[in-house]
């Protein structure tokens, strides 16, 4: 197993997630796309950790942190989406244009 295949997988998933963030209108789906991007990052980290046979398993530790933070961020993100929905009765981000000139 080469390292390249994992990096390519990670890059692909990251790009797909980016496409999703830029494209999706539903706020929850944007957050889902962000999860995809974070998953891609995790793949990359763990792959490198195993590739480099790190004694301190730095990559895996980092991946754990990323997972924890991703969970926290998803939680806050959903809370915010809920608040916005309460206010605007819509989860469509294109309707959040009050700051537009």
């Amino acid at each position: 197993m080469t390292i390249v295949q994992f990096i390519l997988l990670g890059a692909a998933m990251f790009s797909v997630g980016l496409y999703g963030v830029l494209t999706r209108r539903n706020a929850v789906l944007i957050l889902a796309s962000v999860e995809v991007m974070l998953a891609a990052v995790n793949v990359n980290l763990v792959a490198f950790d195993v590739y480099l046979a790190d004694q301190a398993s730095t990559g895996q530790v980092f991946a754990l942190f990323v997972i924890a933070l991703a969970a926290a961020e998803a939680g806050i993100g959903i809370a915010i989406v809920l608040m916005i929905f309460r206010n605007r009765h819509s989860a469509d981000v294109d309707e959040l244009d009050l700051m537009r000139y």
Binding site: Q5, F6, A47, A53, F65
Partner: protein
């Protein structure tokens, strides 16, 4: 290494077996017209990554993915979808119109292209030396609580903040009278 050589290894077939669904699922996440299906595709994508972790011997990380992501975050997303009254059937309103999708797609391809080219240039055929046994959780734990204790504490703070913040943000406004059932 050529593609033929690569394909001759059994591990690489397993890799493909896991990676392709993961990739396809993530593409479906970003392009499905059904909200619920998009979230479920996310489940598949995340599960795929967990399996890949297991394959690499990072057992703890893999099972953590299953527990946290698939056990909690996905539930959260589903709750979010339900509360925001997302259309539960097919809907075209979930994505930007084509005029926005094209530049985004171009950007994504560009990003992938650049990274792929750079990576291939650098790492060409370097092989991952799979360890004989999986990463020991005890070593992982030891590493967290000695080398990485400070980030660990910081992350715990962040989680605490997220916990409190989530509660504060999402609760009902106390001034708003809640309708009492008579």
């Amino acid at each position: 290494m050529s593609v033929g050589d690569w394909l001759s290894e059994l591990a690489n077939w397993v890799f493909l077996l896991l990676a392709i669904p993961t990739l396809v699922a993530s593409v479906m996440v970003v392009s499905s017209k059904n909200v619920v299906r998009a979230v479920l595709y996310l489940v598949i994508a995340l599960a795929g990554t967990a399996a890949l972790f297991l394959m690499l011997g990072a057992e703890f990380v893999g099972w953590t993915v299953v527990l946290v992501y698939l056990g909690a975050v996905i539930i959260l997303f589903l709750i979010g979808i339900m509360i925001t009254r997302a259309p539960l059937t097919k809907s075209v309103e979930l994505s930007e119109p084509m005029s926005a999708k094209v530049p985004a797609a171009l950007l994504s391809f560009l990003l992938f292209g650049v990274v792929a080219w750079a990576v291939v240039q650098s790492f060409d055929s370097k092989v991952i030396p799979l360890p004989d046994e999986a990463t020991r959780t005890a070593e992982l734990g030891y590493s967290i609580f000695t080398s990485w204790v400070i980030p660990f504490e910081v992350v715990s703070f962040v989680l605490l903040a997220a916990l409190i913040g989530g509660i504060v943000l999402a609760r009902q406004d106390p001034a708003t009278p809640v309708e009492q059932p008579r």
